[in-house]
């Protein structure tokens, strides 16, 4: 039982400002012993932080990592997103049910384990994966699963010092035939030592900037480089920087590290293996827009990223690369970390800002854009992790050389996250515009016995492409011409064993789970889409249901508040263009689909990579 004194102590350790709500509640939940926040605790937090109780309760209700019901000593989160789903996540659930009696939302009778189905954990190269407390475990097989869980019995929950198996460093596809700039240091430096990073080139770009460039020159350089945002939308970063209101008394640099798009794990690798490249990019941005403080909003599941960044920030301050008067110049800049609590929508920049402020992660209407009124209503420039990591490269090599990489209007290197039925899934750095087939071949092609059926590019919000699209250049503009999107740069390759209907049902369950619920078309539409697809998958759908889905998704596209509700049309329409017959086949009860009819999708044997 947590006492009022416990609550007061935690609140005092962060401060009573609302923006600290996430960390206060996270700590109290960890202290509860059974991973939950009781009504008494919520009331206590409200009192200590001088907030209405409803705000605390509403906040907790929004983020999926919190629970108001008692769970167990250890929470097992099994990923059910696409990349894990197609390689046997449902088998994990079956084993947990058979061997431990665990269903999602239940605990073992001894109070040891509580099971939750969660969305992408960002370790897709070792799918199927799960997180126990904050520890990640990939490449799961039945034996491994059982032995891993047995290892937790009787032990206290880990809070993040040990973060499970090392995955990020190993996530890179070796022998890729492309030069490495973004990943140049990854695997070659010790990410916990700034000296190791500096010896390999970290902060040399910031040094160049501070020894003679003006802020306007930096903005002009980034504009000239043609760098486009790597979070998915592809907005020119330099233009965004130039929109930041310089008249306000303060400005912020915000790094969007809420990498939640299923199948995407590039930002995790950068933060965990080369954290100083992100810090350096943010500091350069701070110099360019006249900000003295930056925030990195990291999703709560990325414990190791947070630990590594915290350590990197500490060392950077020590060595004078962050803090007051950096390297003896007039420029001061510092960084703080904000954490997410399990909400995909917080990757939308205005939701992210609301979440940073200790609010429910609802997107804000625009205008005003964050560059005018962002965090605490002050001008804030939000970019993705990979975007910031590109900035030192541009400074070091110049805009001209940067523009020589990639394709027209999509310049520079890109990180592609390869997952699914590939021989060597993982992260590839390749020039923008590298074709799908080249990327797949870099991964050694498909697994033995697998043949290419389709791929989803850009995460759950991305398009389904078929064999005819393999020559597609993966940049911002070429997919657009075909009604597709590059998105975050994730590519989920599916072989013949995957049923498109089951796959789409999985995608739509993701949107339903992650819709914030603020606007009507998305809140109701995501539920309608899932229910229609579930009906089709279970064999009781009709051809009219297929049309109804398109109609609903189109209304969502037109009327939704943010990109989340506008997205489901993309996988749906692209899948229908290529697999309409398969959907209609499912509407014939005489031909039940062997994959879909099990209710939870393919129950595959698990094999280690």
């Amino acid at each position: 039982m947590l006492t009022t004194a416990d609550i007061r102590k935690v609140v005092e350790s962060y401060g009573t400002a609302r923006e600290h709500l996430m960390l206060v509640l996270r700590d109290l939940q960890a202290m509860s012993g059974d991973n939950h926040l009781s009504t008494e605790v919520l009331k206590g937090v409200a009192q200590e932080m001088r907030l209405p109780e409803s705000i605390v309760a509403g906040f907790v209700g929004f983020y999926s990592m919190f629970s108001v019901r008692p769970r167990a000593r250890h929470v097992i989160r099994v990923c059910k997103s696409g990349p894990c789903h197609v390689v046997g996540a449902s088998t994990i659930f079956r084993i947990l049910s058979e061997r431990f009696g665990l269903q999602p939302g239940t605990a073992t009778p001894d109070g040891e384990f509580f099971l939750e189905a969660c969305e992408c954990l960002g370790v897709c190269s070792v799918a199927p994966a799960m997180m126990v407390d904050y520890d990640l475990h990939g490449n799961l097989t039945e034996e491994r699963l059982v032995s891993i869980l047995d290892g937790y019995r009787g032990k206290a929950a880990s809070t993040g010092e040990q973060c499970g198996e090392e995955t990020a460093g190993k996530a890179i596809v070796v022998n890729a035939p492309y030069p490495r700039r973004l990943l140049a240091r990854v695997g070659h430096i010790d990410p916990t030592s700034i000296d190791s990073g500096i010896a390999a080139g970290n902060y040399s770009a910031l040094k160049t900037v501070l020894s003679g460039m003006t802020p306007d020159q930096v903005v002009a350089l980034v504009k000239e480089s043609g760098l486009r945002g790597r979070g998915g939308a592809g907005f020119p970063a330099g233009v965004k920087w130039s929109f930041v209101d310089r008249k306000a008394p303060r400005r912020f640099v915000v790094c969007n590290a809420d990498e939640g798009e299923p199948g995407t794990f590039k930002d995790r690798v950068l933060m965990e293996e080369d954290p100083h490249s992100v810090i350096e990019g943010m500091a350069i941005c701070g110099f360019a827009i006249g900000a003295t403080l930056g925030y990195i909003y990291v999703r709560g599941e990325y414990r190791r990223s947070i630990v590594r960044l915290e350590e990197a920030i500490r060392q950077a301050r020590q060595r004078g690369w962050l803090g007051d008067r950096i390297q003896g110049t007039d420029f001061s800049f510092d960084l703080l970390i904000k954490e997410g609590g399990g909400a995909y929508v917080c990757g939308e920049e205005t939701s992210l800002i609301n979440s940073m402020e200790g609010r429910r992660g609802y997107p804000r209407f625009k205008p005003p854009f964050p560059g005018v009124a962002g965090f605490k209503n002050l001008p804030s420039n939000v970019n993705n992790v990979e975007t910031f990591a590109n900035v030192p490269i541009i400074v070091q090599h110049g805009a001209r050389e940067y523009r020589s990489i990639g394709t027209a209007n999509s310049f520079g290197p890109k990180l592609y996250c390869m997952a699914g039925h590939l021989r060597n899934p993982g992260l590839i750095e390749a020039p923008m515009g590298t074709t799908l087939v080249q990327l797949i071949e870099t991964c050694g092609g498909l697994k033995e016995g697998s043949s290419f059926q389709f791929a989803q590019i850009g995460g759950s919000a991305g398009a389904i492409v078929g064999p005819a699209d393999l020559e597609l250049g993966m940049d911002f503009d070429q997919p657009l011409k075909k009604g597709l999107t590059l998105g975050s740069g994730s590519i989920l390759v599916c072989d013949q064993s995957v049923c498109i209907v089951d796959f789409l049902r999985n995608v739509l369950s993701f949107f339903r789970h992650e819709s914030c619920g603020q606007c009507v078309p998305c809140r109701v539409g995501t539920r309608q889409l899932y229910q229609l697809m579930d009906r089709i998958a279970s064999g009781s759908g009709t051809p009219e249901d297929v049309e109804a889905m398109t109609t609903t998704a189109q209304i969502m596209k037109k009327a939704s508040f943010c990109a989340l509700g506008q997205s489901p049309i993309v996988p749906l329409q692209t899948a229908l263009a290529r697999f309409r017959d398969k959907l209609l086949d499912h509407c014939n009860p005489a031909h039940p689909c062997p994959v879909c009819s099990t209710g939870r999708g393919a129950s595959k044997p698990l094999t280690a990579h």
Binding site: E53, S54, A559
Partner: protein, 353 residues
Amino acid sequence: MNESIRLTVDGRVVSGQKGQTILEVARNAGLDIPTLCHHPRISRTGACRICLVRVNGTALKTACTEPAADGMNVVSEDAELASVRRSILEMLLAEGHHNCLFCDANGDCEFQDLCHRYGIEEPRQPLPGRRRTTDTTSSKGLRRNEDRCVLCGRCVKACGEVQMLGVWDFTGRGDRTELTADCGGPVGESSCALCGTCAQLCPTGALTLQPVNGTAPTWETRKQTSVCIYCGVGCQIDFHTDSKGRLLYANGNENGPNNGHLCVKGRFGFDFVQHPERIRTPLVRRDGKLVEASWEEALDYAAARLSEIKAANGPDSIAGLASAKVTNEENYLFQKFMRTGVGTNNVDHCARL
């Protein structure tokens, strides 16, 4: 300071001020754009998407959040916009359980009005129901039936921004979103101050007021505007009466000095008005008993006795206590009367006690 702008709405040139939304400019010009989550007394939301309009030929923008700009061309409704609005209304109808026959707001419901306006019938895509909280008894002031809730957030903002209490907020996420009063639990056990603003701003029957003197179908009620008698603020109240003139419920008048706001007394404290035991004439004590008297008689009696007491014991033997239920001007007159008429400084006011 104010920069004036001119834009075209449905072919009509209208003018407004920079900083206004399309909706504000259009409504000032008497043009109708349907809304649901918007309310002028709370901050902009943009969540229901009903007010989507076409801006400059292509883009669909919510009129309630989009700043009006000089030279803008706005179309408030065309075939596509009407179809989007119909779809949204159908979605809301499918999501809740809107049984108008049993609803307190039947006939006085913005959602019902919109469904009539756009000819909505049974939703084409029914959703297997998920019932939300119904609690019509725990609170002395509020009835809550979230099956009729459209999750517009007006109540959340009414409590947080107008009453500044923050009893309500949303909890859950996506299609599991629902209201929470404080940390959950019955609203009657929450920190609610019973101002009733959330119910007044609710566009449906999800939050309604507890009846004070019974109920009547909304179409049989009549609105009469009056001034609250409880304090000197002088809030305007819209009393809704039934066909027999019985006072049923009170709403703050949106155009009054109170901007539509009321406190618990103004909202619910009117049952005395038509109460059979209400004192309707002055009472004078005769032979130890209070009996009805005329105003002349009562005033003469009071004046005579006050004069006698003053003559016998001096003015400081008299004290006056004024009421917060009268106006500032009347309170001023009262202290003047005590000081110059009676001749004493023994005057005080109940609000100081």
